[in-house]
Structure formats: C-alpha cells, structure tokens
Symmetry: C2
Subunit: 165 residues, 2 copies
C-alpha cells in the first residue's frame, strides 16, 4: 500500500472573508505572464487585478481564473493607487529598490495592493512615488532576477501564509 | 525626492555553503515550465535538477540559469531518489495526496530532494512510493491548482525562507 495517494479535485480552503489583497500590474509585455499571475491569484482567492492598456488574459493559461479574477483596466495606475490608499489599503511594490524590505521579514497588512512592475523596466518613477513600502525577494544566484510571474507567485504565497484564511 | 529608487544588478546573497536542495522533475510536457523552474532554481542558488527523458532548457526563459544549473538526465527517477535517500536526503514530493503536509507548516530538512510531478499526471505511483513526505500548497479559489512552475517557485521560496543562507 502506498502511503501517499493522489487526491485531486479536493475542496479548496474557505476564506472567512473575501481576500483584501489587490494586484496592480504595470503594462506587462507578455500576456503569458499576466495570465500566469491571474491563475496564481485565482488559486489564492484574489479577485481583483488592476491593469492598464491592452491587458487581456489567455484563458488557456489563466484557466478558470479568467472567470473569477476581474481585470480592471485603467488609464494609469498612480491615481488608482492613491484612491486605494484613501480606502485604507497599504500600497506595496515588488521591486529591487533602496529602502526595500526583504520579503522574508515583511509583515503584510491585510488590506494590501501589491504592485507589479513590467518585465524590463519594473516600476516607473510615478508608481514608485505612490508606494508605502517595497518588498524584495532575496536572490542567491544567476540570473539574479526572478521572472515577474515567479516573483508574484512568491509574494502571493507569503501573503497567504500570513493570512491563511 | 522619491523614497524608493531602482537598484538593479545588486550583489546576490552569499550562501555559507552550497545549497543542499536538489530538484527532481518528472517528465514535463512543457520545456517552458522546466525552463521557468530552472531560472527560479538558479536564483535560489540551487544547482542540481534531476530529469528524465528529453529534458532541455530554453535559454531564453532559463536565462543564465542554463549555465549554473545542471540538468542531470536519468532513465527513471525512483532509483535516483532511493540513492539520494541513502546519501541522507529527505525525499519530498509536491503534490495533492493523502497524508500530505500544508507547506505553511512544513519544516524542511536542509538536505532535501524536492520532487515535482508532470503537469497532468503529477507524481506517478512509483515515485510516490519513494517519498518520505508530501507537501501541498493551500488553494482558495479557481482554477484550484497551481501551474507546476508556480507551485515549484512557492516551494523554493519556502525552503529559502527557512534556510536564507
């Protein structure tokens, strides 16, 4: 008898209240990256992703998250970030900057907007100016930077670890 | 003056000793997924990925990890897992199974082989029979399962959080 047997299609965890984590994505070059982020966000119970420009999901990659995660398209992120701050959200960038906090040691506020930069440029100056905090994921080897969807997955994991439900 | 300024090309963390985390991948359908796993592994300082079959990296996705992470191609994983256990490694699967442990509550051994299943079938019976433990990442919403590279990134993050250097 094997000790471990497959358990597919099990019930997901129940959240006591809807997730108060919102993702905000700078214009990503790759629809694949946005769609991977949406799938991970959906699995984590996140339902809002703020985007700009021509953001669209590839349902083959996002899977059913394309139904549960709403992409809110805005002209520009900074005014939305200021608005959400006014609603009590902490606005946190995921980036390598001065003054950043190691994600291993960062305590999330439950009401958080996690701001994701584009693949090449990361977060713009205008977005950096709207941030309350920056989190950074430690790197130990080449290529010295995580793919944007990979980094977002790690940050989503850490948030959910701190707020399992 | 912005409070946060970009810091690119900063020095990575130094590990006091080489990482004793080894990845073992079932044959993945997608070279993209394997390459994304390799890039994340490289960033985490992991240098060994055991694979089977026609495993190859796409250097556009794996980036410089293609130079630092060695893909060790084997005919089949179970004998290698048994061998590594003999060398003192704990063999841990990433899967949804009976008897699994929530990754949030799992304490890794430093010497760990993390075994990753294929996109569709996950870990085979033969591989499940070789595992000392199974870790599972909680899911709260659709599509109820993480992409394999996303799940691996989360597990890599958790291992590195427990062993930052």
């Amino acid at each position: 008898m094997p000790r471990f047997e497959h358990l597919r299609h099990q019930e997901p965890r129940q959240l006591a209240a809807p997730r108060e984590l919102v993702l905000a994505c700078a214009p990503l070059r790759s629809r694949v990256n946005l769609s991977r982020i949406a799938r991970a966000a959906g699995c984590c119970g996140v339902t809002r992703i703020l985007c700009t420009g021509q953001a669209k999901l590839d349902p083959k990659i996002a899977r059913d998250a394309a139904q549960t995660v709403s992409l809110e398209i805005h002209r520009s992120l900074p005014p939305m970030l200021a608005k959400l701050r006014g609603e009590g959200y902490r606005v946190v960038g995921l980036e390598q900057t001065t003054g950043s906090t190691d994600l291993h040691h960062y305590s999330f506020e439950k009401k958080t907007v996690l701001v994701i930069g584009s693949e090449r440029q990361g977060l713009t100056e205008e977005v950096l100016a709207e941030l309350d905090a920056v989190i950074e994921i430690p790197v130990w080897g080449m290529p010295f930077s995580y793919n944007v969807a990979t980094a977002t997955a790690m940050a989503l994991y850490e948030y959910c670890r701190q707020f399992p439900g």
